[in-house]
């Protein structure tokens, strides 16, 4: 099948839906494609927490204060132009969402803003109780209804971006329901596929967040930036099995109610690490990165909880207070057999967000003309560590910006795609072969284990060398021809295509992490435990005929002034 549009948007989470709305508002015809259902997959719908924007409803604020906090969190590596766009546009998007009746929590007649860690004042809006992401998704899905210039297509997995003379001109996809290849001629393409949390066994994202967009952009010839910076969330839910809630939900409760971390011997341990490091933000005993470190060290020393993490206990909090803080969530917990008055739960660091991604200019265009990125797929705005609350904000802000830019690029472009641009991906799909020799779903499990153990929150040269070797082994194991079971909704082919993307992205992370011989923000090297000012620059990843090529880019102007990039 052959489709045509002005703007193709890959991924229908928060960033993709916003991009579609803005591109259509700019007069473009849009195809909004998602491998799952529209507005159901990705990270936005999973997000239960807060959204940062200097709307000044709770107390006076200015986007420049938000920017200062964002840059401070980023450890000197933020692309300040992108960070500024994020913070300056945030109030517009938040108020637009409010006008669209998303239902931001209110207090005394104004939108309520919470004071999240890392912010200098209350700045984060949310929807009660833990409904932020679902409410955002639902609101955007509603806005998409009846927009005649936007065609929404689910179950459509993009295999590769089509390139003609170095310019993006559409994409080749596979329709999961029928297995039919679909070519989409587009004057501009927006990658809005979110992050890469699925690369890790323990993660807080959706199944479809395997870094598809990074792989698509890489193979299209675009540059990726900051790929070594994967954000881990220290106290992700581990056990008992929790159903129906975001695994990162414990943080605000720990913060509000003073939840206590205990090791497998039911002993408090935070203080020990706080004393050792002397770092303390005055609210938590430990900052997020130190909490991650402390939990992993306790597990390593044989003092982990039974499932390999730490206990988080609220037993000291009176039941009425728990009920007040958790609201209806306490009933959802009860359905999972969790009674906080009697038993601690187990928590562990989990992959949560990716700071790295597609390198873009101020128009959100990648280094490949007419190929744009938005949301978490964009790298650079958050530097080496993301400020809490900035993820949904960037989905909305970058989505809107990329949608508008893509529409403008489409207006300035004559359709130039020829059959040749789609040929490589069509040829790949034609080569699919029925085979039971390899189980790609099992290999995905192996990849997740490798990344968790060797390219996780704490890395060393030894673990990274081993990870790169094992990823090379997986590359060889999947081969060059797709595996298939020949049936509709071909799970073998889907897993193979996912693995093809995941291996490429995992290697980008591992190789960039291997090169960066320092610890900064979310990238922690046990063999180089300190921040090194000489490393204040960003690393760029490119794809060269199947090989990952790493180079250095000067960081922001300001960073260069502070410390020149070493040769």
């Amino acid at each position: 099948m052959r489709l045509e549009t002005d703007v193709l948007i890959v991924g229908a989470g928060g960033a993709g839906m916003y991009a579609a709305l803005e591109a259509a508002a700019s007069g473009a015809s849009v195809i909004l494609a998602d491998r799952s259902l529209i507005g159901r997959g990705g990270a936005t719908v999973m997000a239960m927490m807060t959204v940062s924007a200097a709307i000044g409803a709770q107390c006076p604020d200015h986007w420049e204060h938000h920017l200062a906090d964002t840059l401070a969190a980023g450890y000197g590596l933020c692309d300040e132009g992108l960070s500024a766009i994020l913070c300056e546009d945030a109030p517009k998007r938040i108020l637009e969402m409010d006008a669209w009746k998303v239902g931001w929590a209110r207090e005394d007649g104004h939108i309520k803003q919470a004071h999240a860690p890392g912010h200098d004042r209350p700045r984060c809006v949310y929807v009660d109780f833990l409904r932020t992401g679902p409410a955002v998704s639902k609101t955007l899905r509603h806005q998409l209804q009846n927009k005649s210039s936007i065609r929404r297509i689910g179950d459509l997995m993009i295999v590769d971006i089509a390139i003609e003379d170095g310019v993006a001109c559409g994409a080749t996809a596979i329709h999961l329901g029928t297995g039919e290849p679909v070519t989409i001629a587009a004057k501009a393409v927006v990658v809005a596929t979110g992050g890469l949390t699925r690369l890790y066994r323990r993660n807080s994202g959706s199944f479809n967040m395997g870094g598809d967009g990074y792989a698509l952009a890489l193979r299209a010839g675009a540059e990726l930036v900051d790929m070594e910076f994967v954000q881990f969330f220290p106290i992700g839910h581990l056990a008992p099995r929790l159903v129906g809630l975001d695994p990162i939900m414990w943080d605000p409760f720990r913060y509000k109610l003073g939840g206590i971390l205990l090791n497998g011997e039911m002993q408090e341990f935070e203080q020990r690490y706080a004393v050792d490091s002397g770092r303390n933000d005055g609210k938590y005993v430990l900052t997020r990165d130190l909490a991650t470190y402390a939990i992993m060290k306790e597990v390593e020393a044989g003092r982990g909880s039974p499932s390999g993490g730490a206990y988080l206990s609220f037993k000291h909090v009176p039941e009425a207070e728990l009920r007040r803080a958790f609201g209806p969530v306490i009933d959802t917990l009860a359905k999972s057999g969790i009674d906080l008055t009697h038993n601690p739960i187990e928590v562990a660091p989990i992959a949560h967000y990716h700071m790295g991604g597609v390198k873009v200019n101020a128009a959100f265009e990648s280094t490949v003309p007419n190929l744009f990125a938005s949301g978490e797929a964009v790298g650079g705005a958050n530097g080496a560590n993301r400020l809490s609350g900035n993820a949904i904000t960037e989905a909305l802000v970058f989505g809107a910006r990329a949608g508008r830019s893509a529409a403008a690029a489409a207006r300035a472009t004559n359709g130039r795609s020829t059959a040749q641009a789609f040929a490589p991906a069509l040829d790949l799909l034609r080569r699919r072969k029925l085979s039971a020799s390899v189980n790609p779903a099992a290999l995905i499990g192996e990849l997740q284990q490798i990344m968790m153990e060797k390219v996780g929150p704490f890395r060393t040269e030894t673990t990274l060398d081993a990870a790169i070797a094992e990823l090379d082994r997986l590359t060889r194991a999947i081969g060059n021809d797709p595996l298939s079971d020949g049936a509709p909704f071909d799970s073998v082919l889907l897993d193979w295509l996912d693995l093809r993307n995941m291996v490429a992205v995992a290697k980008s992370v591992a190789i960039a992490a291997h090169a960066r011989r320092e610890s900064r923000g979310s990238h922690q090297r046990e063999d180089f435990p300190s921040l090194d000012p000489a490393w204040q620059f960003n690393q760029i990843v490119r794809w060269d005929d199947g090989k990952i090529e790493l180079s250095r880019s000067a960081a922001t102007k300001k960073a260069q002034e502070l410390a020149g990039a070493p040769a």
Partner: protein, 113 residues
């Protein structure tokens, strides 16, 4: 503990049939966990939809579990037999996958139901 998942398989073009899979589990694990175990450890061709993994956010894993419509991600595995089948009133795609997208969000909007 072991759950025996009795799964209705097949597509409109292929013969429908029943297959049984024994799935080891610890209490608290869900039917979706069991299906993912089968896919990665026993039979990579088993088709089912899921996205958010046990957060009950995406609503994709709806199916017939012991003759009742339920989400695989919120239904717990239990010792003994459990019957899984695709949604009865939606067009079958393959195995446990049915056409659940709204008609205007499909590649071929004319597909029935």
């Amino acid at each position: 503990m072991t759950a025996t998942l009795i799964i209705q398989r097949g597509s409109p073009k292929a013969q429908r049939h029943i297959e049984r899979f024994d799935v080891p589990f610890v209490p608290g694990q869900t039917v979706l966990d069991g299906l993912r175990f089968i896919r990665s450890q026993i039979d990579p061709t088993l088709a089912f939809r899921f996205s958010c993994i046990n957060a009950n956010a995406c609503k994709e894993c709806m199916m017939l579990i012991d003759d009742t419509i339920a989400y695989a991600c919120t239904t717990r595995l239990r010792d003994g037999e459990m019957k899984l089948a695709p949604l009865p009133k939606k067009a079958l795609v393959n195995d446990l996958v049915t056409e659940i997208a709204p008609p205007d969000e499909r590649l071929n909007p004319s597909t029935k139901r």
